[in-house]
Symmetry: none
Subunit: 538 residues, 2 copies
C-alpha cells in the first residue's frame, strides 16, 4: 500500500491572485465540480472575510453535492488585541458553514514587527486563540504557517514556537508556506525534517514558483515527511504562481510511488487542466509539462524514427497515463517518417510508392518552401492528408470575399467583410462588421455557416499568431498566420501563408472551420431561415 | 572567491526544437550578439551536419567579433562501422571552423540496441574514435552523454564505461544529459556524485523540463559537483523545453553563491529574456520567474501595504538584481528614468512637476495600459516627447484612408489603398496597389509624400513585427505592430496598437515617416508635378 498524500487545491483562492485571472461565482462552481471529479481532497473556495463573491460561492457550492472533496474557507488569525469571538474574519468562516477552516498566521519574527506591528507574545496568542476557537466550533483546522521557511532561517526557535502553539490549540494540520517562493529544495528538505521532529501532527507544504522550483520544493517536502500538498491547477497564482498540481500529482504518483488520486482520475488530468484554463480564460502554454499540447510532441527526425521503433526511447512516461497523447511534428528538420506516423493515426496505409503519397509529399514540400509550417498546425496537415486520400467531404467552399477598412477624419475605423460561400450546393452571401479585418471575416463566415452547422456554436478561436517570414522585404514580405481553435473538448491549429495577411488569415480560418466539420452533416435549413442567412436566389 | 559555473547556451540549437520556434540566420546572429553580452561561456550555434542554414550561421558569426563566448557546433559520434575521417557529420564540425565541438553519443544500452542498432562494443569505439579525431584536429571537445541518467539507472557499469571512453580519448568535458526529462533531483544528485568519483575531468548537466524540474535538476547537479550547465533562454526547447537559464543563473548566483556572469550582466537578464522572445516571436509568460512582467507584481492588498513598508516582506530578491522591477497595483510608468534621459538627450529639461511633463506621463501611462510598449520603439517615444514640448513641426497629417482587399473565384487577391493627406496645407489624394494591406498603404503614402520630401527615397522599412496582445479574445484581440526603418545611416523603431491590425500598422507607418522628417523642410512642388502627385483641386 503506497503512502497517501492529500491534495489541497487553492485554485479558487490563491490562484485568483494571478495576473489576468478573475473568476465569477459561476466559474468557481464549474471548477469546483471538476476538482471534485479529479479527486482532490480539499477545495479552498475563497476568503469569506475578504469579499462577498466568496460568501456567495460557499452558499451555492452546497448545491453541487460534491462526493469527494471537502470545501474549506480561508482566513487569518484574529486581529491583535481582540477576542476571537469578536473577530469578523473568523466568524465569517463559521457563518459560511464549511467543515474545514484554513487560517494563516505569522511565523517570521521580522513580519510580526514589520507587517502586523505587534509583539512576539501577542502573535503566539493570536495563533492559539484562533485555532482553539475554530476547533471549539467543531471544524477541522488547517494552520498555514505563512513565511515559515524565511522565519525558520531567521529565528528557528520562534518559528517552531508558532506552530507548536497551533498544535497545542488542537490544529489538525500544520502547513509550511514558502510565501515569497524564495526557498531552495535542499532547505525545504532540512526544515521539514526539523519540523517533523518538533511536532506530532501531520505536516503539509504550500510552495510558490518564484525560483521556478515550486514543484521541486513540494516533492522535497513530501520526501521529508509532508503528507499534504497545497497548489493550483496549472500553477495559477500571484507573481510566478503557486506550485503546479498538474505536475506534482503525476510526479508523486508515477515517479515516487505515492498515492493521491485514482489511476482513472489521473487519466483525466490533461482535460481538467485544459478545462480550468478555458474557464479562467488563461492561455495554456503548449510546452506545459504532462498536460501541454507539446508535452509529448516530437520534432527531430532522429527522435521520430526511434519513437516509431519504441516510444520509451524518447518519452519519460506513457502520455495516456495523464490523459495526454503523443504527437509527431512535421517540419524541415524531420523527415518522411513524421508524415507516415500522422497518416497511420488517421487509419491510412501510407505507401511511399503510390502516386497519391508521392503527390502529397511533393505538395507539402512545396508548401514548406513557401513558408508553411505544419508542426504547429496539426489540423491543416490532417486536412491535406484527408484531401489527398479522399477522406474528407467538401461541405462548403469560399467563392469570394471582400474586406473594406476605412477611416475618415477623426472618425473610428470601420471594418466590413463580405463573403460568398457555396454550402452544400447553395450560394450564401453575407456581410458583417468586426473590430479588425480577421474578426469581421470570422463573423461573416459564421453568419453564413451557422444555420447549416449549428455545432459551430461551440467552437471559438483561442489563439492567433502572426509571424513575418522574411523581414528584409518588410511590408511586402510573407506572413504566416497560426490560428488555434477549441470546442472545449478539443483544440486544433491551422496555418495560412501569403504576402497578404488577410489572405493568410482567411486560409487558416477556413481550415479551422473545415476541421471542426470533419464527419459532420449539413442541417437542412428552412426557407424563412434561408432569407435571414443571405441565401442568393438564382 | 566563489566557485565558477560555466554557462553553455543552446537556444540556437536545442531551443529551435521547440514547437513554433523557427529562427532565420539573421535572427540567430542577433541572438548570438545578445548572448555574448550576457556573458555566457559557450554558444551552441547549430548542427552543421544536419542543415545548411546552420552552416551559413557559422560562417557569418565570425563577422560579429564576439568578445566573451566561444562558439560551438553540435554533432553526433561517427556512424557505426565507418572511420571518423570519412564521417560527414564530424567533418562538417571541422569545416565550419569553430574552436569547440559538442558531440553526443549513447550511454543507455537499450538505446544502443533499439535506436542505433549496433553492439555495445562498437558504441564505445564510436565514442572513443570521434572524440580522439576532434582532439587531434585541435578542438576543445564537450562530450554530451545522451540519456545518461536513464542509462545509468538501467546499467550503471555500461553508462560509466561510455564516459570513461570519452575521457580516455581526451574529452575536455563530460555533460550528463537527461534527454527525456524524466529524472528527479535526488536521482540527479546521487548519479552526478557517482560520476564525479568515476572520472577526473569536469562534468556538466543538460536537463529538460518534462517533470517541471529542469531548473531543480540543474541546481542539484551543480551542488553535487557539476561545473557546466547547459540550457536555453526562457527554457525554449523540444516538448516541455530545456532547463531555463534565466532561472538557473540567478538561483546559482544570488542564492547559492556560485559565480557565472558579472553582476552588471545579471542586471541585463530581463532585457535579454524579452529580446530573445521577441526575436523568436514567442510569448514571454508574464508569470515567468525572475524575468516575467508579473514576477514582482503585487495584487493582494495586505501584501501591498507591507511591501510599501519594506519590500523584503514579500519579495525573495531585489528585482533590480536581474534587471526587473517591482509593480504595485496599477502598472507604474515603465522607465520614467528612460523618459527623463530621453528628454535630456533632446535638450528638454524634464521636470516632474510642470504640467507638460505630468500630461506626458499620464499619456504614456494610458498608452501602456492600452498595450503600447516603448522599450522597442524609441522613435515613437521621441515623437511623443517632441509633441508634448512643441519641438516638432507638423509637416503632414493623414486625413483619411481606405483599404480594400478582395478575391473572387479563383483569381488572385487584389489589394488597394486610398489615402488623403494634408501636406503643408495642401490636400493630396492618391491610391496604390500592394501585395498586402500594409504594403499598399506604404506605397500610397509614399506616392503622396515623395514629391514634397525627396529625402524619403533613401528610407525603407527593414522589419515588421506583429504581436497579439491578449489571446483570449482572439480575432478581436489587440495587436501591437512594431516597424523598424532605416535610411542606411540610422535605424529607428515605431509602434502602433489597435484591435485592428490595419490601424495599428498605419499608426506605426505614419510615426516612422514623421520621424524620418524631423528637422526637414518641404520641397516646393511644381504645378505639373502636383497633377501627377494627385493634389486635390479646391
Amino acid at each position: 500500500m503506497a503512502n497517501i498524500v492529500k491534495i489541497f487545491d487553492t485554485t479558487l483562492r490563491d490562484g485568483t491572485q494571478g495576473e489576468g485571472i478573475s473568476l465569477s461565482v459561476e466559474d468557481k462552481m464549474k471548477i469546483a465540480r471538476k476538482l471534485d471529479s479529479l479527486g482532490v481532497h480539499y477545495i479552498e473556495g475563497g476568503w469569506p472575510g475578504s469579499n462577498n463573491k466568496d460568501i456567495e460561492f460557499f452558499t451555492r457550492v452546497k448545491e453541487l453535492g460534491l462526493t469527494h472533496a471537502k470545501v474549506t474557507a480561508f482566513g487569518s488569525t484574529r486581529r491583535k488585541d481582540t477576542l476571537p469571538e469578536n473577530d469578523v474574519n473568523l466568524n465569517r468562516i463559521l457563518e459560511v458553514g464549511v467543515p474545514v477552516a484554513t487560517i494563516f498566521g505569522k511565523s517570521w519574527d521580522f513580519h510580526v514587527h514589520q507587517a502586523i506591528q505587534t509583539t512576539l507574545e501577542e502573535n503566539l496568542a493570536m495563533i492559539y486563540d484562533s485555532v482553539l476557537y475554530l476547533k471549539q466550533n467543531g471544524l477541522e483546522v488547517i494552520y498555514d504557517a505563512e513565511h515559515f521557511f524565511d522565519g525558520y532561517k531567521n529565528n528557528p526557535e520562534y518559528a517552531l514556537q508558532t506552530i507548536r502553539k497551533a498544535e497545542e490549540a488542537g490544529a489538525d494540520w500544520i502547513v509550511l508556506c514558502d510565501t515569497n517562493g524564495g526557498t531552495l529544495p535542499h532547505e525545504v528538505s532540512e526544515i521539514v525534517t526539523a519540523v517533523k521532529r518538533a511536532i506530532g501532527i501531520p505536516v503539509g507544504i504550500h510552495a510558490h514558483n518564484d525560483c521556478e522550483l515550486g514543484v521541486a520544493n513540494s516533492l522535497a517536502a513530501v520526501m521529508a515527511g509532508a503528507t499534504q500538498v497545497q497548489g493550483t491547477i496549472n500553477g495559477f497564482g500571484e507573481r510566478c504562481g503557486n506550485a503546479n498540481l498538474c505536475s506534482i500529482i503525476p510526479n508523486l504518483q508515477l515517479k515516487l510511488n505515492y498515492s493521491c488520486i485514482s489511476d482513472e482520475q489521473l487519466q483525466s488530468l490533461t482535460s481538467v487542466a485544459r478545462y480550468v484554463s478555458e474557464i479562467a480564460n488563461m492561455h495554456l502554454p503548449v510546452n506545459q509539462p504532462f498536460v501541454g499540447a507539446a508535452a509529448f510532441a516530437h520534432k527531430g527526425g532522429i527522435h521520430v524514427s526511434a519513437i516509431l521503433r519504441n516510444p520509451s526511447t524518447y518519452e519519460h512516461i506513457t502520455p495516456e497515463l495523464v490523459g495526454n497523447k503523443q504527437r509527431v511534428l512535421v517540419s524541415e528538420l524531420a523527415g518522411l517518417s513524421n508524415l507516415v506516423f500522422k497518416a497511420q493515426e488517421l487509419g491510412i496505409e501510407f505507401d511511399n510508392n503510390n502516386p497519391q503519397s508521392r503527390k502529397l509529399i511533393d505538395q507539402i514540400k512545396e508548401m514548406e518552401h513557401q513558408g508553411y509550417q505544419f508542426e504547429g498546425a496539426d489540423a491543416s496537415l490532417e486536412l491535406l492528408i484527408r484531401d489527398a486520400y479522399g477522406k474528407q467531404e467538401e461541405l462548403f467552399t469560399l467563392e469570394s470575399f471582400k474586406i473594406i477598412v476605412a477611416q475618415s477624419a477623426g472618425q473610428p475605423v470601420v471594418t466590413e467583410a463580405i463573403v460568398k460561400l457555396n454550402i452544400n450546393g447553395e450560394t450564401v452571401y453575407n456581410a458583417a462588421e468586426g473590430n479588425g479585418p480577421v474578426n469581421a471575416l470570422d463573423h461573416a463566415l459564421r453568419k453564413c455557416l451557422l444555420p447549416y452547422f449549428p455545432i459551430l456554436q461551440d467552437m471559438h478561436l483561442s489563439d492567433y499568431k502572426v509571424r513575418v517570414l522574411d523581414e528584409k522585404d518588410t511590408t511586402a514580405a510573407k506572413v504566416r498566420v497560426l490560428i488555434e481553435s477549441t470546442d472545449y473538448n478539443n483544440t486544433w491549429s491551422t496555418v495560412g501563408v501569403s504576402a497578404n495577411i488577410i489572405e493568410a488569415s482567411c486560409d487558416a480560418l477556413i481550415d479551422s472551420l473545415r476541421y471542426a466539420l470533419i464527419g459532420k452533416k449539413v442541417t437542412p435549413v428552412q426557407s424563412e431561415e434561408k432569407e435571414r442567412v443571405g441565401l442568393v436566389n438564382h
